[in-house]
Amino acid sequence: MKQGPDLRRIEDNMRTGTLAAHQFLGTDRRALADIILQDQLLLEQLGLTNQALAERMRFFTDQAAEKGFKVVDKRFQVEREEHKGTIPCPFADNFNAAKSITKVLNLQTGGEVIWSDLNIHLIEEHGFYEGYGSPFRVDPTAYADVLEIKKDK
């Protein structure tokens, strides 16, 4: 997929690591446009949408927001870790996310996933799930499985 200058500049910013040590792209050498496109194709195969994933993640984040720890529906153990400060969206859209991390353990399957508040925004607004090797990569297949997200179609 051809990558325009705007996306190229955003990718360059990500790769410098000035916003996050994992650079959002991890060890992934694919162009940013290709990373986004291939994840969108994967979502389509899974019958999911960015919004469905983001909404499910936000649901769990909100559940743990009050006390930092909660068991939801007797099936999910949710923990939230809040750090001081904010992190700006690398797409430079004037969005700043709290530096907070949500961890969900599926008590039935033992599967566990984590994400940051910024992940939810990146998925919802930019369809970006981060690159391979990033500690905050949201693999649509694994996350849909652990969070038991129903297909949209």
């Binding site: 690591g17 000035t18 040590a21 006390k67 930092g68 750090h83 430079a92 004037n94 905050f136």
Partner: protein
Amino acid sequence: MSVFLTVLSLSALATILAAVVVAADYKLNNYGICAIDINNGTRVLEVNGGSSLLTSLSSQKVFIPSACGGKATCGLCKVTLVESAGPVLPTEEPFLSGPERDAGVRLACQLKVKHDLKILIPEELFNIKQYRTRVRRITDLTHDIKEFEFELLEPGSIDFKAGQYVQVDSKPYDKVPEPVSRAYSIASLPSEKNKVELIIRLVPGGACTTFMHNHVQEGDEITFAGPFGEFYLREGGDELIFIAGGSGLAPIRSLILDILEKKLDKKMKFFFGAVRKRDLYYVDFFRELAARHPNFTYIPALSGAVPEDAWDGEEGLITDVVARHVEDAVGKQAYLCGSPGMINACLQVLGKIGFEKKSIFYDEF
């Protein structure tokens, strides 16, 4: 032979063209010496044109807050131009409101100095200095929080108000090839002018906290700029309510120590919230402080204590604990430091207790 001559000709032509481009770039982009007038002549700097305003100012020891290293992603380095310097760039647009654009506000990192400029910045930024320091001691406070003590080398002393912060510069490491700077509140006493203590919690994936936790050792030299910030003790308030969580303890520690050292006639209650016992730190330090000072009360609380914590202290959300211990807002001020979620929850609870907004202070960073 003809192929060789063709290749040679093309190579020579490309070399000539490259030389022309370099010469033109030097000629056209040589802006010479430019004057930057700050705050209507309070200071006038002469800089070599061609660099960003942020870089030009820092080269002359005028430090504008910036957390992204000039990448136009944090939006902190705002300055006001007295005279226009051209249209706002697309990279600046997301960070500038309509009134700010009308007032001539620009991002210093995106504005190239091509001619003389007149700018306005807050007066206190003139007091910002860059400090060369040596890491004297690193102490593990919890599984993910460390205390760093810096010995100031050049300049050898710092003047700051308890509650303020510095911006620490990282160095290139691993896959982070460029330095970044991040803000950390000072935890030590303002009277200890030759050292600074910072409390830094490891943020997973954090560019600067990863550097500080995993790549800095005792004896290393580190630079930081400061002091910055508007979070410091205000006039009034017979009783002060301090509320913190996580590494938000740092400026509160500095404030409490400063007030006790100056023997100010104020009662103080310090609420510190954590999830589990492993997240608490400085517990003995504050308990001893409370034992020695009748005007100081320390109330740590856990929101998710488990049986193995064997915790017999306060339990529940820190906001609930505050509500149990603070009956009214008469003669009180509140100072908050923690995550945005904690701050918002505290603002609601303090409002219900009767605190007016003007009596609540918090670090917005």
